[in-house]
């Protein structure tokens, strides 16, 4: 063929034609076939959509531009030398290639519920975290951010999640290989497509891992064109979006005074000497700014974020290559926190013969996180607490600035255990470094065995090395408490291997009927090992963990190893009859080590059917409806996300003190369960895909019903068994939902286009059955203090997950609720006023609703006071293109979810000495008058001083009960990002030997419309595997950021 071209090139006069091929959104289209009509002569557009072709200079020459998923275009040359082409994507979505697990299909041939995002949906808005790209973009996919930190965990729920206690994260498959670390280790800019398999008929091919949906990521590879070098760069700045309102210095000092009113000793020895007399407060503190710790910590240094990426790719018909290197440097707004990531990716493809293709894929990522988030040690200790509550003034003697630089607060040294510390000193006194290195190596070989039969074998290995270094130097509060510096190191090592063999058979019958069959086998192996070593009692001068031998007392090291294996066989058939009727069926058998001896193998069948109604004659004769497809599917899939070894009766090591040393020992770790198996999802899905007006408006609607049974529950056991719980299969849930997505190409002109896409999801979750009981009370454990030990979430049969469980607040007890008894000097509760006898109330205590109406307030008066699950969530994107300019605005929203503000509860626990409080406590029920005199025992004055009090008194606020006053509406509408770009005209760019230059700016998190009083309503700091969603406990603040960048191609 090449030879033929050469001959024709020499034998005819020729002209060269070049141009840029773009899509409707004015984005360059790489990989478009440009062929001289009627010949084999052709080329392919490069990464910037640029092509050049030499054709015979004869009249009547026509070029054919075609690209999979786009409408082909034929253009007569007519002597032009530059032909720019816009390929209409009027039917793009119909022909787009969709990954369906071990194979691909075209969207029009799809029978299940699969949503996709293309790289073009990601371009223009640079992001460091791929999960951000999914946020609000796909119907049925909810992205739940835990907090605003650069390395914050994000969880993704496909259709709400079906499990109660187990991991509800979808299965992530990157280039065919499962990723245990979710989307960590992949750069957003490397992604070609994201396909989300939602219904069980689509996920059944992934068997026991598919129940929570499957997210398939395909990365970009080399293309058949000349070498292209791309350089992408951006830099930006972040700022905190809002701050908590705290008491000002004067009000804080008054609170300090009121706290001590019943403790004359403390008043005399500490409060008055530190802060002065009550009547001096106005003059001493009225205009004193004090220290704003939020400013000190979050605005201490500019939080700069930047990324550099170099991408070299190219290839010819037989081999393609891609090499890319990305460097990210993201400083957190929290003083001392940063994330640095380097990523190297190599992708090679070689067509070795006309029947064999070999490809190789290498990805290496090295991510270093420095500094602490807002929570540490498993979330119990909130470092945010220090930022919010550390006292803003040093008192009447001394400069407030002294608080910033001193490691110890002279006042707090007087207090007993665990005093607070200046957040700045504690940040500087602690080291917390994390490093995550992931290496992926995989390759596959494809062989065309016969005309219709081909084989594909894939082999991949993955290695992840996670290191964590924690060291508390002599300046830290932790070292001061422990008496000396200490620290530890964790090395967490994971490796996995995957191997699969797939045979596919594909046959077209009578040119309109199509049969596709695949059959395959797969094997997965995972191994984890863990090492933790530490030492305490370091001298003040030390090298930290660089020389652990200085630690006087070594800690007992901990190691562990675990392995699991999964062996599978699967098959699937797709039948297309007359381009109208599509049938698909699949089954997978999974054998897993994790499950009990009696249930090693599970089988996951599915079937689906689609009818392309628009292909029927009776619909062809109209213009309104350009596409109509009905889909119906039914299938099962499983969730095997549990720890290893849970089915066995194991004895684990322990140690005991013996004399002044230790001895090893063994104890039962769990009660065995030979019947343990996976959770099973059974999903029915009904979907409609419709296109109107030549597919300018496209609508996808899905309705589903998922029944989940054999839930993996860590079911509580009676404690007399010797075991608090055991992993069993019990319980059922149901999820019903509706998802709509609409894409409208509002305007589609050559120079101007406007596209709107909207998606909306609603999921109704219902717990159908639990183990041995019809409810489960869950303790979120956000505060691991003994003061807060009652369940605060409630899982109930007939209700949805995410129910917050507590008292309904009725207000505060006032003097009207009591009769004052002057002889006992006591407020006695009036007849008919409900109260908790174990905690006799006083005026100023929180008053709860007496739900049981027995005049007694106790745990039985708790009720559902909120739910973290939204009624509706979704996103709205508008993108515009005018000549070289592009503009987009993306909004995401959530309606009907509540937030449990543990911050509000803890930051207003007013009896905590020396600590500041949220400003809502200014309206507290006070027990002092305007002159600082204790008026508690004077009912008349007390009532007069509190006519407008809305918050509990110092003593009343000290009880950590979860009540409705701490639940807030978390609905929000967020202007997630606004992006603006300008692509320089090709003519200008080409002159300076570039192929493409685009500049852009993006504003993230511009504004959130919400009633929530905390930093950000997108919060979930204590998820407990989804059992206690929506808690805001010391979440890292969210930021607004502005980024400027450029994409440059040579």
């Amino acid at each position: 063929m090449l030879f033929g071209c050469l001959i024709s090139a020499f034998s005819q006069p020729k002209s060269t034609i070049s141009g840029v091929i773009t899509d409707n959104e004015n984005l360059p289209l790489p990989g478009v076939n440009v062929v001289l009509k009627g010949t084999n002569t052709g080329t392919i557009s490069n990464i910037d959509g640029y092509y050049t072709i030499t054709v015979p200079a004869s009249s009547g020459t026509t070029l054919v531009f075609s690209f999979v998923g786009y409408d082909s275009k034929e253009i007569a040359v007519n002597g032009q030398s530059v032909i720019d082409v816009v390929l209409g994507n009027s039917s793009v979505e119909l022909n787009e290639i969709v990954k369906i697990g071990y194979a691909t299909t075209k969207r029009k041939d799809l029978t299940g519920s699969v949503s996709s995002l293309k790289s073009s949906d990601l371009v223009g808005t640079p992001i460091t975290d791929v999960t951000q790209a999914l946020s609000g973009k796909i119907a049925g996919v909810q992205v739940i951010k835990s907090q605003g930190a650069p390395d914050a965990e994000t969880s993704i729920r496909v259709r709400g999640g079906t499990s109660i206690t187990q991991n509800n994260e979808p299965l992530y498959i990157i280039d065919g290989f499962p990723s245990e670390d979710g989307l960590k280790g992949i750069e957003a800019t490397d992604i070609e497509t994201i396909d989300v398999l939602k219904d069980a008929s689509s996920t059944a091919i992934y068997g026991s891992r598919g129940a929570n949906g499957v997210i398939l990521i395909t990365t970009k590879g080399g293309k058949e064109n000349k070498m292209t070098i791309d350089y992408d760069v951006y830099a930006g700045l972040k700022k905190i979006t809002k701050k908590y309102d705290l008491l000002n210095v004067r009000d804080f000092v008054e609170l300090e005074y009121e706290r001590a009113i019943n403790d004359p000793d403390k008043m005399r020895t500490t409060i008055l000497p530190t802060y002065g007399e009550f009547n001096e407060y106005e003059s001493l503190y009225g205009n004193r700014p004090g220290i704003d710790w939020q400013d000190e910590v979050f605005n201490r240094r500019p939080a700069v974020t930047q990324q550099h990426k170099v991408n070299i790719s190219g290839g010819n018909k037989t081999s393609q290559y891609l090499f890319s290197y990305t460097h990210n440097d993201d400083k957190g707004i929290w003083y001392g926190s940063s994330l640095v990531r380097d990523n190297v990716r190599i992708k090679l493809n070689q067509k070795t013969t006309d029947w064999m293709n070999v490809s190789l894929n290498v990805n290496y990522i090295d991510e270093k996180t420095q500094g602490l988030g807002s929570l540490q040690d498993g979330g119990a200790f909130s470092r945010m607490q220090h930022v919010i509550q550390y006292r803003p003034t040093i008192g009447k003697n001394g400069q407030d600035e002294g608080l910033i630089i001193n490691d110890d607060d002279p006042l707090l040294l007087l207090e007993g255990a665990s005093p607070m510390q200046s957040p700045i000193a504690s940040i500087e006194g602690e080291t917390k470094n994390k490093r995550n290195r992931i290496l992926n190596l995989n390759g596959d070989v494809e062989i065309k065995l016969l005309k219709n039969l081909s084989y594909r074998g894939s082999l991949g290995v993955r290695k992840r090395l996670y290191n964590q270094d924690i060291f508390y130097s002599e300046r830290s509060k932790q070292a001061k408490n422990a008496g000396a510096p200490y620290g530890w190191k964790v090395i967490d090592d994971a490796e996995s291997m995957m191997f699969n063999n797939v045979l596919s058979y594909s046959k077209t019958i009578n040119s309109v009927n199509q049969l596709d069959l695949i059959a395959g086998q797969e094997y997965l192996f995972d191994r984890f090992s863990y090492l933790k070593a530490g030492a305490a009692n370091f001298p003040d001068i030390n090298f930290g963990l660089n020389d652990m031998s200085l630690g006087g007392t070594p800690e007992i090291p901990v190691t562990s190893i675990a392995e699991n294996k999964l062996l599978s066989f699967f098959t699937r058939a797709n039948v297309n009859i007359n381009q109208k009727y599509l049938l698909a069926a699949s089954i997978r058998a999974d054998g897993s080590t994790k499950f009990g001896a009696n249930h090693k193998w599970g089988y996951f069948p599915s079937a689906s059917f689609a009818w392309r109604m628009s292909e029927e004659d009776f619909l062809k004769e109209q213009d309104l409806l350009s596409n109509l497809k009905l889909r119906l599917s039914y299938g099962t899939s499983g969730n095997n996300r549990i720890d290893n070894y849970l089915s066995l009766s194991l004895l684990g090591t322990l140690w005991i003190p013996s004399g002044n040393g230790t001895l090893p020992g063994l104890g039962s770790r769990q009660l065995e369960n030979p019947d343990l198996k996976w959770e099973t999802n059974i999903t029915g899905n009904f979907g409609i895909d419709a296109g109107f007006l030549d597919n300018r408006i496209q609508v996808t609607l899905d309705l589903y019903n998922t029944d989940t049974k054999d839930l993996l529950l860590n079911a509580p056991l009676p404690l007399i068994s010797g075991f608090p719980s055991r992993m069993i299969n019990a319980g059922k849930t149901n999820n019903k939902g509706i998802e709509v997505s609409i894409t409208s190409h509002n305007i589609n002109k050559k120079n101007f286009s406007w596209t709107t896409s909207l998606n909306l999801s609603h999921n109704k979750n219902t717990v159908k059955e639990l183990y041995m009981s019809d409810y489960m009370e869950i303790l979120s454990n956000w505060a691991q203090t003994s003061e807060f030990n009652k369940g605060d979430y409630m899982i109930q049969v007939g209700q949805s997950l995410g129910q917050m469980w507590g008292y309904e607040l009725e207000g505060i007890y006032t003097t009207d609720d009591f009769t004052f008894n002057p002889t006992k000097n006591k407020y006695e509760v009036k007849e008919g006023v409900a109260y908790d006898p174990s905690r006799y109330p006083k005026p100023g205590f929180w008053k709860y609703k007496d739900v049981k109406k027995d005049n007694i307030i106790n745990l039985e008066d708790r009720k559902v006071i909120g739910n973290a699950i939204p009624d509706i969530y979704g996103g709205l994107n508008n993108s515009f293109a005018y000549k070289g300019f592009d503009f987009s605005i993306f909004i995401n929203f959530s309606i009907g979810n509540d937030i449990y503000s543990a911050n509000k509860m803890y930051y207003t626990k007013l009896n905590n000495q020396y600590r500041n409080s949220l400003s809502i406590a200014k309206n507290r029920y006070t027990i002092i008058d305007a002159n600082g005199n204790d008026i508690f025992t004077d009912p008349v004055q007390l009532a007069a001083a509190n006519t407008n009090s809305t918050f509990a008194s110092v003593e009343g606020s000290s009880v950590l009960d979860f009540h409705s006053g701490y639940v807030e509406d978390g609905s929000f509408l967020k202007i997630n990002n606004i992006s603006f770009g300008y692509t320089l005209p090709k003519s200008m760019v080409n002159k300076i030997h570039f192929s493409n230059i685009r500049f852009y700016g993006t504003l993230y998190n511009l504004y959130t419309f919400t009633k929530y009083s905390g930093f950000d309503p997108e919060v979930n700091t204590v998820p407990n595997n989804g059992m206690t969603p929506g808690i805001d406990w010391g979440a890292y603040p969210s930021t607004i950021s502005f980024i400027l960048g450029a994409n440059i191609s040579f």
Partner: protein, 551 residues
Amino acid sequence: MKSKLYLKTGIVVIVSILGFTCSSCSDLLQEQTFGYYNEKEFFTNNEQLSLAVNGVYEVLSNKMTYGHFMLVSDCDTDLSHIKGAGIGHAARDLGHYNVYAEHTWIQDAWELYYKGIDRANRILDNKDKVVTKDSLERKRFKNLIAEARFLRGLCYFDLVRMWGDVPLKITSSKPHDNFLIPRTDRELVYDQIILDMETSIPDLPWHNEMNPYLGRISKGAAMGLLARVYLFRAGYSLHQDGSMKRPANYMDYYEKVKEITASIIASNKHALNTSYEKVFRNVCEYIMEPKEVMFEVQFFNPTGKDEHTGKIGSYNSPEIDRNSSFGLGNSFIKTSGLFWKKFDTGDLRKPVAIADFRIDKTDKIIPIGYNENYRWAPGKWRRNWVKGAPKDLENTDVNFILLRYADVLLMYAEAVNEYDGTLDNLALECLNQVKRRAYGKDPKTPDPLIDLTSASFVGGQQAVRDYLFDERARELCFEGFRRSDLIRWNLIGTTISTFYTDFNKEISDGFVKTYSWVAGTRFQAGKHELYPIPAVEIRETRNVITQNPNY
């Protein structure tokens, strides 16, 4: 064309076989464990058995049993109270009789005891799998089994003492067991405890036969603890009908106490240390002296972290500033001037037991005046006595004294007085040994100046009881059994209300500053003599396990 097909097939076969060699082992789906033993293949020799027995000991060396819970559980009484009047705090709720079925410490302790019981049950169920080669190994085997069995009894004893009737389970938990076991009558539980302890005693060595002695249960300690079991069985306890009752044949149990304690005394294996102060200094300095301190629950952590450390010597220490060189004496447990008054002058136990001072950050001792005597603290475990630099602000390695020889002597005297109605010579000698040492004399040398005689007890049996009521307080204060003693004597309600009246009188008389001793208003007779069954337990057994009265 054909040959190409062969080539292709060849490659496919090679590639796919590569995979199958990894994946086709016969036991592919069997889980291979690392760092765990499968129970089915375990318990084959003494070494394995001994590791499992250590596992039973482990539950005792825990904050929620003897490291912290038991310190608070002994409050509030006429001897000690938890600092502060507030509630809504785990320790205060427990100490101040504001205990409820959801209390986490109650639940944790209950869970740990049953965990220990299941570990012991598992050993006893599997013991026949152990192969012993010779008589020496047989002896060690019997010793280990005896330890496991004894510890099971000890766990049940704590359960029955604190919760009354509890589910009795003497086989290890199996996958298909139904755990809906109702509460067993406490007499049957006591039968099992006594059977376990009596069966194990013959196979346990004396403390001096262990080399080295590392704090494991010895024959003498086991006998002493068995005597304690009988003593409690003879006493009162709260029943489901809300009444305080003792069994009809309670005299039999006093007789057993008398018998067992007499034989401990006769064995001559145990004796009092000549210095009362030294006993506690030794404990704080980690020196074990099994002659007097017959059994100590062990605490130790190389770095002072939470696991297997206790709060003995910080929580129940005198107030010591966190910045002192000793570490923090959190001093959450307090005593009072009223207890101080129970000691006569010359009783050297007073300055040991009661710390009427605090220590500031410069290690200086600062006295606390009588008018603030509610700030005085137990002085037996002082952070400033604890050996070595502090490894943690609050956690310590100090052991819990579960049984002292002095208690054995006092138990003998009490049992004789109850059983015979009057003291015999040995009983007098027992009381005198304790008393002589208290006054700095040699315990074993009679001293007519201070020795008690039968004439010392003018009121007869009741006078001896009254004497023991105070003497047990003076000798054994804060060691974990005052509240239990008051309950078995059926004196807790009156003792608390008398103390409350006396304490408030000191305030109204102006000797003491205002302080709210809240147990006086919170203690409820017919309820607080037992702890509530943890709420989760009632829920998880769907009310098969019933709640204790008035909770």
